[in-house]
């Protein structure tokens, strides 16, 4: 394909995409030129397909056919972000945002809204877009979207994820054209350096510096790798980019290839992401067909191709040297550094590895310029960051905010706060390598350095909200179970350290903690940080250290008072029956699986039957009695 042909595709689809990006009035004017009176965008990301968005699409298409509406375009996109309310469907040009769709709802929307002269079906809209007086606001102005700034996710939920033409019209491959026609490799690297972009995979190493080192390395064969082995539980931003806009990653890797002098790229992606893998395969095939990958790209003399490698479920493979060992077909064990991958990486050749979100930022940096990018964010952390909001929060989903946004803005405004009137306790960032941010630090502006300063880390961007029902000792035990399980076993500090830490935490949650345990834990943590081979072992103590720092009293309560404030650690719980409240109905005793509840002789004033009591020696603390008592007579202490 030549640049001229690329331009033709852009021109032919430009208005179609613009309808989805402009405000209502302009979009309505433009819609007439596109040949489609209405466009219906349905999320085809993993979140929404899990809540059956494919059935919604099928039913939508069927009903449209039955109604003879051939001027309505149905588009299967990537993630819109508001996963808690999936499946989501947006109708343009008016931008009506329908949530929690079912096939029946889709039929209703076709018959009442999509038919000529139809009206928006208000009761099916996302509640946040309908005001008290019945007026409808654009979804971009709802609290969830208003404070967001979408750079990495710019095309997610905007374009058909499996259509290269739409990707091109939305701006993909504009940067590679600029790079190959008007920039030298050094200019590309300088632009990335000047943007201040730091790696979004966790450590925050300046991307441009990585490229510069790889370019300086001598060698005829070099490699460009993409880390799509998103292993942090609770993080799904990389998956969403791959599902929503796979071409932006292919383009960025090609640009890096040009900059450092590489001609082959590898994308290492989790096999647990079948939708993302499928979309990547489609995207690579389309890009090859269009001559945007392969020999002589755009007829401008540069060769670059990309292959996919599937991971097989090992968290440590997110570490750069382990990932490369895995691509080589071995056990994914990390190697000591130096030599750094930029000097000696994949197959012993100079290699750069960036994660998906980092790649997603390259196109805007090249097209709009480093100066624009560097104007967003904080002094040392430029641009935006995508967070996967999860846990005890109303708007579970994917959000992208400028660096420096506070945790309070993310949780209370964008996230919609904590459900069920519970109190915010902490936010966990950085997954098993990160830490917990307590309620009193909720106004910290989030960037790479601030998070490290308060004992956590950015990590890949999972942000799990914990409420008062979460026990912090239990949470650190949960992460240690994870790291002990995922430790590759190559170095002793990590293999033995994670196991011993887990043993000690388990002991504490079982009520067997002793004086001095906390100090032992702290000492072990320091040793592991200092002596583990790779980031997995070096950062595995972080969840423990940060909860110890901010919630030390909870650990002490477990050890000294045998008390778990949150009521999570079973061994420390005691169930009791308030004999004054008990009416003697016997529902608790009837449902107790171990017959630990018996009737006493005591009849409370005003009651007819004698009350019950629990034998603590027999009680297995399952909580069934509490769930069955309608009179709130069973208490947990």
């Amino acid at each position: 394909m030549t640049i001229k042909e690329l331009d033709a595709i852009r021109a032919s689809k430009k208005e179609l995409i613009d309808v989805r990006r402009l405000v209502k009035e302009q979009a309505e004017k433009l819609a007439a030129n596109t040949g489609y009176r209405k466009q219906v965008l349905v999320c085809g990301g993993t979140g929404c397909t899990s809540s059956h968005s494919m059935q919604v699409i099928e039913h939508l298409e069927k009903t449209l056919k039955e109604e003879g509406l051939d001027d309505v375009l149905v588009v299967k996109t990537g993630c819109f972000g508001l996963c808690a309310l999936g499946p989501i469907m947006i109708v343009y040009p008016e931008g009506a945002f329908y949530a929690q769709m079912t096939p029946e709802h889709a039929e209703t929307v076709v018959k009442q809204h999509l038919v000529p002269g139809g009206e928006i079906v208000k009761e099916l809209l996302y509640k946040g877009t309908v005001m008290e007086d019945g007026s409808i606001i654009p979804f971009a102005e709802t609290p969830f979207y208003k404070k967001q700034m979408r750079i990495a996710l710019r095309n997610c939920g905007v374009i058909a994820a499996e259509d290269i033409d739409e990707a091109i019209a939305a701006g993909d491959y504009q940067a590679i054209e600029k790079v190959l026609t008007s920039m030298t490799p050094d200019e590309v690297i300088n632009e990335v350096l000047a943007s201040g972009l730091r790696g979004r995979g966790g450590a925050g190493f300046p991307t441009g510096r990585k490229w510069m080192f790889a370019k300086a390395s001598q060698g005829d064969i070099k490699y460009v790798c993409c880390n799509a082995d998103e292993g942090d539980p609770g993080a799904f931003m990389d998956r969403s980019v791959l599902e929503g806009d796979p071409h932006c990653v292919l383009e960025a890797m090609t640009i890096a290839g040009y900059a450092i002098g590489a001609h082959q790229g590898y994308i290492y992606v989790r096999a647990e992401y079948p939708v993302a893998v499928q979309r990547l395969k489609i995207a690579i095939a389309q890009a090859r067909e269009y001559g945007l990958l392969g020999k002589n790209i755009l007829g401008l003399g540069f060769d670059f191709d990309i292959d996919i490698r599937l991971g097989a479920g090992a968290f440590v493979c997110g570490e750069e040297t382990a990932l490369m060992t895995s691509i080589e077909g071995h056990r994914g064990e990390p190697r000591p550094r130096p030599p750094f991958p930029a000097v000696k990486g994949l197959f012993g050749k100079p290699t750069i590895l960036n994660n998906v979100e980092t790649w997603a930022n390259i196109n805007p940096i090249i097209v709009k310029g480093a100066k624009w990018y560097a104007s967003i964010g904080t002094e040392k952390s430029k641009g935006t960051k995508v967070f996967a909001l999860g846990g005890k929060i109303t708007n579970v989903g994917l959000v992208e905010v400028p660096m420096g946004t506070t945790l309070r803005e993310i949780i209370e405004e964008i996230g919609g706060g904590i459900p069920n009137g519970k109190k915010f306790k902490a936010a966990q960032t950085g997954g098993p390598s990160g830490g917990c941010i307590p309620a009193d630090l909720i106004d910290t502006p989030i960037d790479f350095d601030n998070l490290v300063a308060i004992g956590s880390m950015m990590g890949s961007g999972g942000l799990i909200v914990l409420d008062e029902d979460t026990c912090m000792v239990d949470i650190s035990k949960f992460y240690l179970e994870f790291t002990a399980d995922e430790s590759c076993g190559k170095c002793n500090p990590c293999r033995i350290g994670t196991r011993r830490l887990l043993d000690m935490l388990t002991k504490i949650t079982e009520g067997k903690g002793e004086e001095g345990d906390i100090e032992k834990i702290e000492a072990l943590c320091e040793h592991m940080k200092a002596s583990s081979l790779c980031a997995l072992g070096q950062s595995a103590p972080n969840p423990v250290l940060s909860t110890l720092h901010h919630f030390r009293k909870e650990y002490e309560d477990h050890i000294k008072e045998h008390h778990c404030e949150a009521g999570v650690c079973k061994a420390l719980l005691n169930y009791q029956i308030d004999k004054e409240k008990c009416i003697g109905c016997g529902m608790c005793a009837k449902n107790c699986p171990v017959s630990a509840i018996t009737r006493t002789d005591y009849v409370a004033p005003g009651h007819k039957l004698a009350s019950f009591e629990i034998d603590p020696a027999k009680c297995i603390k399952c909580g069934v009695c509490m769930g069955n008592c309608k009179f709130h007579a069973v208490e947990r202490k």
Partner: protein, 170 residues
């Protein structure tokens, strides 16, 4: 003795079709650097797991030692040395699901089927595994049975879901 040794796929390469498929995969990929993982993934697709004889065949085909192949197989959690159930249950124990009580869902599945995580029921109908994040955190807690995702679970929903699979096989 000889008859016994040939009774299962541990000692043979399964059906002739399976053996032919495996051979084709090895032939097709063996010149690609780092192809072992890919071949193992394909082989697991053919057999449902990775019996020892399959690993031996792959090792021979690639000119590697069996211990090297076995080392890779046991390193990655996706590869299995044992057969899995017809319906593979995978309960997510990622953080978002965990804080919403997926451990209790897993307990209930184990109780209902009478097996532990990592095991397969005697009738071969179900096997249970835990996984780390399928990325459907908006629906937490979730479990997958085959490709189907069940979200917003509570322990009391488990029996009904499993019953629907039991019904389907009757």
């Amino acid at each position: 003795m000889e008859q016994e040794a040939k009774c299962c796929a541990c000692e043979t390469l399964g059906t002739p079709e399976q053996a032919a498929q495996l051979k084709a995969v090895i032939e097709e990929s063996k010149s690609t650097p780092g192809c072992l993982m890919h071949i193992l993934q394909e082989a697991q697709g053919i057999y449902g797991y990775l019996p020892m004889q399959v690993q031996k065949t792959i090792a021979e085909g690639l000119g590697m030692s069996l211990s090297e192949v076995y080392g890779v197989v046991t390193f990655y959690s996706q590869f299995s040395l044992n057969p899995k159930g017809k319906n593979r249950i995978s309960v997510c124990l990622g953080t978002a699901c965990y804080v919403k009580g997926s451990d209790k869902v897993l307990e209930e599945v184990e109780k209902e089927l009478g097996i532990k995580c990592g095991e397969c029921t005697e009738d071969g109908l179900f096997s249970i595994d835990s996984c780390r994040c399928v990325g459907a955190c908006g629906l937490a807690p979730v479990m997958m049975i085959g490709e189907e995702v069940y979200g917003k679970l509570t322990p009391d929903k488990v029996k009904g879901i499993l019953d629907s699979y039991r019904e389907a096989t009757k």
